[in-house]
Symmetry: C2
Subunit: 206 residues, 2 copies
């Protein structure tokens, strides 16, 4: 049974993806409704927008969910226990960096850059899912280090939180460097450098 009523003239899901790109590029507050409307299905009217998405804020929420379910999956390895902790960390760094630098969408990570997406006090709640994702990713890095310690791969003296923060902070910075136009190959070389941090802490007794 098909839907009742007059059919939509644009693809709603494609519209969410398009909105995601715009919010990713400019952030929540700086993106205007006219901007969104103009880039959905070759341009839609105000009532069509509100009928389909409810409000700018609700569309942003959908766009964030869309990002988390697609592009943000580059960090999934952090919670995959079938991958060694070291590989999980390196894979995450390389996958995320590659994604952040590839063409076809805005540079950098929407979650990281989302720190400044809704800076006004009245809108901080809007970017809350992004903050939650950042917190989760940090925990993911710490988790990997803890797993390595438990597995006896890293020394018991290793400070898991410190190492987790170090890897996470580097990756957050990649978003800014990608926006500034630093090459993916240069960033990859610096990942190789950064991973030496892991190898120092390798358990000698192995």
């Amino acid at each position: 049974m098909a839907k009742m009523g007059r059919p939509r003239t644009f693809d709603r899901q494609k519209a969410v993806v398009q909105a995601m790109y715009i919010f990713w590029e400019h952030g929540y507050e700086t993106t205007s409704l006219s901007q969104l409307k103009a880039n959905i299905g070759g341009g839609i009217s105000t009532p069509s927008f509100y009928a389909a998405f409810g409000s700018k804020e609700k569309l942003f929420n959908e766009a964030v969910q869309c990002y988390l379910e697609t592009y943000a999956c580059v960090t999934d390895a952090l919670w995959d226990d079938e991958i060694s902790p070291r590989d999980a960390v390196e894979l995450t760094l390389r996958r995320s960096t590659k994604m952040q630098c590839e063409s076809g969408h805005p540079k950098g990570c929407m979650v990281s850059l989302g720190t400044m997406s809704a800076p006004s006090p009245e809108f901080t709640h809007v970017a809350e899912p992004l903050a939650a994702s950042r917190s989760r990713t940090l925990q993911g890095f710490v988790r990997c280090v803890e797993r390595a310690i438990t597995m006896g791969e890293l020394s018991k003296k290793t400070n898991a939180r410190s190492m987790g923060i170090a890897f996470n902070s580097f990756l957050l910075g990649v978003s800014i460097l990608a926006r500034d136009g630093v090459d993916a190959s240069d960033l990859n070389d610096s990942i190789t450098e950064l991973m030496k941090l892991w190898d120092i802490e390798l358990c000698q007794s192995k």
Copy 2:
């Protein structure tokens, strides 16, 4: 000889500092004129604002200059040849992190977070001085590594750009972590971790 004409009812320099804090917190585009006016000298009128600063953009430029001449100086060690390269890098990381986490002003670094200060194409030129400062800081880190190689402190095999990017990317990430409320002590511990990167590359022949 004192100035002619009716005297100003507010301190212009204090106003620039106050504006700097607001732009630092919210970015250029998201900061409104009313917000600036309300926070200058207990509130000023629109004509007073324009008479004193010319425009929102010009005030932003002054605010950025003010930041670069004060808070941004935490990275000055990178160009100080009287400090050993390693100390220069560590000092910069610790000073900047301390500054970014201290109270009395917005968390994070105005230069780093300025990546999303003016995301609209029509305003990108406004945040250009911030981008230039980020580029300069990156070069400062690279410079320190190069200096260490020249001095024979680091191995000649060291990839200066990769290491520079690694330290710089970490520091850029600190801005986001500081905004997210991560403790300064935790960040400091991760700096201790990060500096091990340097010690791995130490020249063995010394």
